[in-house]
């Protein structure tokens, strides 16, 4: 009996597996994730199709899809998956490899929102809403949408003018500096 030795060539699929610690081949394409996804109607590809692209090695199609950015990470898919596949985590990983590989992001404003949000965490160690609004609006030049909501939010105490920093926010900052994806279009 002879054994076949094959040399494994690393692909983006392996990167995703490393990030998520789960084998993309676990998915048997039942579509229950897509069936229950609240963002499904805004997506170009169904969520199960993104997994299928990765299974087939069609990484460009997955990374160029708007779906990966529209995923809100609500975890409905993950909690209902009959294979215990954490699709929300998987989507996160596809977004990450898309950034690492310098793919042109389909939903630019969503990425800008993500960045604006992460910037608050980086600087304050927790969310800072006024900073988030400021940075997001500066990045998108979309200065006036939703402005009418702000007085009520201020009155209700939903927006604090000054940030609340966590203890050891410098440590949080250093985590960011070590792990941030630098290359990004």
């Amino acid at each position: 009996m002879s054994h076949h030795n094959t040399t494994h060539v690393r692909t983006i699929s392996d990167d995703i597996t490393d990030i998520t610690s789960q084998n993309p081949e676990l998915c048997y394409q039942c579509g229950k994730c897509s069936a229950g996804c609240p963002m499904r109607n805004y997506m170009d590809d169904a969520p199960n199709v993104i997994v299928r692209y990765i299974q087939l090695g069609l990484f460009e199609k997955a990374m160029n899809s708007a779906t990966i950015w529209l995923c809100a990470g609500c975890l409905t898919c993950s909690s209902r998956c009959p294979k215990n596949f954490d699709l929300a985590k998987f989507m996160d990983a596809v977004r990450e490899v898309a950034l690492r590989n310098g793919v042109k992001v389909k939903e630019k404003t969503i990425l800008k929102f993500h960045k604006a949000f992460l910037k608050q965490i980086k600087n304050h160690g927790r969310s800072y809403e006024v900073g988030l609004v400021r940075d997001y609006k500066m990045a998108t030049f979309d200065l006036f949408s939703d402005v009418e909501n702000s007085p009520k939010m201020l009155l209700d105490g939903k927006l604090n003018i000054f940030p609340h920093n966590v203890k050891g926010k410098d440590k949080i900052k250093s985590i960011f500096e070590k792990t941030e994806v630098k290359k990004c279009k």
Partner: protein
């Protein structure tokens, strides 16, 4: 001792990685070996003749064959040796295939290992003694546990061959799940029409002793010689007097308190009841959990109206013992519980499908009852909540099946077919109705099965949508089913009037307990396990205990019937001779050494160790020692390894033989 060594090439299986000529040459120099050859196929007729001829020519009294695993051909070679006039237990097998050629690549290393294994076997055979097989008598009676279609078929087959059968059923009637079904795929013939004549045949058969409302309590003994204790639960009705007239059930004032098991909780039944009108035997039982007499002692309406004086409130459970030779397990299945997490269960349940919360979300067996002419709606399609005819039905497959998260990883095998049947039956009666089936894969392997599914789609217009449903919720009196067609990549929302969940088949909840009582292995799901998945699929690993139907794995009616007939045939093979032959390689106690600690008794998986009292001539007890029941002992050697005083040994595998083998390797 004159030993002959025979090395088999097994075509190229061994020959490719082991230099067989070098092995046979080396073996020729081992002390005691007088003859050594290699041959392409030792198990073939010329190969066996080679062994027989050498035994004559060289007057051999020990044989070592280097070949495949003893599981494969030990019997073949031992028979050849016996044919040549040498005791078959003086033949040893060295496994040069599974242990050498199939697991090594380097020819030199493999050949050296093969030579070692031959040396090892030669040292063992030198210490072998001639053994004779053990003979035990056979009781030619069969116990069938479970009175569904599998149990009925097995019982009838064995009984028609002329052997007595004891059929034990825990419910008040035989018939099982098949009696609940409407029509059967792929022929659409009426389930009851084909089943009830068989139930009556069982009841009237002179060779079948039918014990309904009974359970197996204890199984002692071994193949051909079981002693089985059966609990006949109190019916509170004297079955010798009752004529099954039904007056008691009609007059029983308790009508609404108990849900009908037969109608899958869709209707209620009286406290004194038969599960269904065609029940066999047609003798009612009293459900003491709802009966007023048993709760307060105030009602005895049934007793008053019974013209035969058959009501017998004082009846108690009876214990029966039966002498049995073979046991056929036919305990069947249950449906997966969908709604919430059952107690002590790994199953999480499908909250998102609203089963139990929405009355019109039902399971497959409930749909069978609605579709059945004998069901609560007499076969009219009405939904449980308001009795309206559903105009849009959604069927969801794989609920609990193929779902590691909330159910089981296995495929329940029958749901694709019964869902197609359900949709078809619905379309046949509600012509303007719409039927949608959500599926993941269609598994329709079987005679005329694929054609049946295609007929549902092509001729009856059932819409199949490939995708699992995520959620069902109620809105304006409709059940909103959220799915995705994964073939088109489009989300699907259906506002259904009724939803049918094709729920998984699971083992009976007490299957593992029964397996422990009977002494057979079961898997993590509670299904009974066969000895060999391909070549011995209906035998359990305990001798004389056979498996039939869905207690082994999910299977449909034709498969269950075929398996039941196979199990019956196996029981009849056992009854083909008056005495059973068993391998003599069993444990033997040295009574002089045995200290009576009975560690062996504790570890024995087959209950083969008994306590023997040694008495002097005056009858005074000297000591108690372990005694091996030769019928039960399987020769596993666990007692041998456990015994602290080394006073129990395995015949044919004594410590002396094992040590000689080990020394040969050093």
């Amino acid at each position: 001792m004159k030993i002959g060594v025979f090395i088999c090439h097994c075509g190229e299986n061994i020959g490719r990685t082991v230099d067989c000529a070098r092995v046979s040459k080396a073996a020729g120099f081992f002390p005691g070996v007088v003859h050594s050859v290699d041959y392409k196929y030792m198990c073939s007729d010329p190969g066996q003749n080679l062994i027989k001829q050498a035994i004559k020519d060289f007057k051999l009294d020990g044989v070592v064959v280097g070949s495949c695993s003893p599981h494969m051909h030990e019997k073949t070679f031992r028979k050849a040796v016996a044919d040549a006039g040498v005791n078959p237990f003086l033949c040893e097998i060295a496994n040069l295939r599974e242990h050498v050629s199939w697991v090594h690549e380097d020819i030199d290393v493999a050949t050296d290992k093969a030579i070692d294994l031959i040396r090892f076997a030669v040292e063992k055979v030198k210490r072998n003694t001639p053994l004779t097989t053990i003979k035990v008598p056979v009781t030619k009676r069969t116990l069938v546990i479970g009175g569904g279609i599998s149990g009925i078929q097995a019982a009838l087959d064995v009984a028609n061959a002329g052997y007595e059968v004891v059929l034990v059923e825990k419910e008040p009637s035989i018939g099982g799940h098949m009696s609940q079904l409407s029509e059967t795929f792929p022929t659409l013939d009426c389930s009851q029409c084909i089943l009830t004549p068989r139930m009556v045949e069982v009841y009237q058969h002179p060779k079948i002793k039918l014990l309904t409302y009974s359970e197996v309590e204890k199984v002692e003994g071994f193949i051909g010689n079981f002693k089985v204790t059966i609990r006949k639960k109190a019916r509170y009705v004297d079955d010798t007097k009752c004529t099954g007239c039904g007056d008691c059930m009609q007059k029983c004032p308790i009508k609404k308190k108990a849900l009908s098991e037969f109608d899958e909780q869709l209707t209620t039944r009286s406290a004194i009841y038969v599960p269904f009108p065609q029940a066999v035997p047609n003798i009612p039982v009293i459900d003491t959990s709802v009966c007023t007499y048993f709760k307060t002692g105030k009602c005895s309406m049934c007793k008053k109206v019974c013209g035969r004086d058959a009501i017998f409130f004082e009846q108690e459970d009876q214990m029966l013992t039966e002498e049995i030779g073979a046991i056929i397990m036919a305990t069947g299945y249950k449906l997966y519980t969908i709604d919430k997490k059952p107690e002590d269960s790994e199953i999480k349940g499908y909250g998102e499908y609203g089963y139990g919360k929405y009355k019109d979300v039902i399971d497959g067996l409930q749909f069978e009852r609605i579709a059945s002419a004998s069901g609560p709606t007499s076969g009219e399609f009405m939904r449980p909540s308001d009795g309206k005819t559903p105009k849009k039905i959604v069927f969801i497959q794989c609920v609990g099946s193929r779902d590691e998260s909330k159910g089981f990883s296995y495929c329940s095998k029958i749901c694709c077919m019964y869902t197609a049947k359900h949709a078809m039956l619905y379309k046949h009666k509600v012509h303007d109705g719409e039927a949608y089936v959500f599926y993941m894969d269609i598994r329709s392997g079987g005679k005329m099965y694929e054609e049946f599914v295609r007929r549902a789609i092509e001729e009856d217009g059932v819409k199949y949508i490939r995708g699992r449903v995520s959620r069902i919720y109620e809105e304006d009196g409709k059940y909103i089913v959220k799915g995705e067609d994964t073939l088109a990549g489009v989300p699907i929302t259906i506002d259904a009037d009724m939803v049918v969940l094709a729920t998984a088949m699971v083992a009976q909840p007490d299957a593992s307990k029964l397996a422990q009582t009977v002494g057979i292995p079961y898997d993590k799901y509670g299904y009974f396990v066969e000895v060999h998945p391909k070549l011995r699929p209906v035998e359990s690993s305990s001798g004389g205990i056979f498996l039939a139907g869905a207690c082994h794995s999910p299977r449909d009616i034709p498969d269950s019937v075929a398996m039941a007939s196979a199990a019956a045939a196996k029981a009849m093979v056992l009854f083909g001779s008056d005495m059973l032959e068993r391998e003599p390689t069993i444990a033997l106690v040295n009574e002089n050494l045995c200290a009576g600690c009975f560690y062996c008794k504790k570890v024995c998986a087959y209950n083969a160790i008994e306590i023997k009292q040694i008495k002097d001539k005056q009858g005074n007890l000297i000591k108690e020692v372990a005694f091996v029941n030769s019928g039960l002992c399987q020769g596993c050697g666990t007692c041998n390894a456990t015994c602290p005083s080394k006073s129990i040994e395995l015949i044919g595998y004594t410590d002396e033989q094992i040590y000689a083998e080990i020394s040969a390797l050093m």
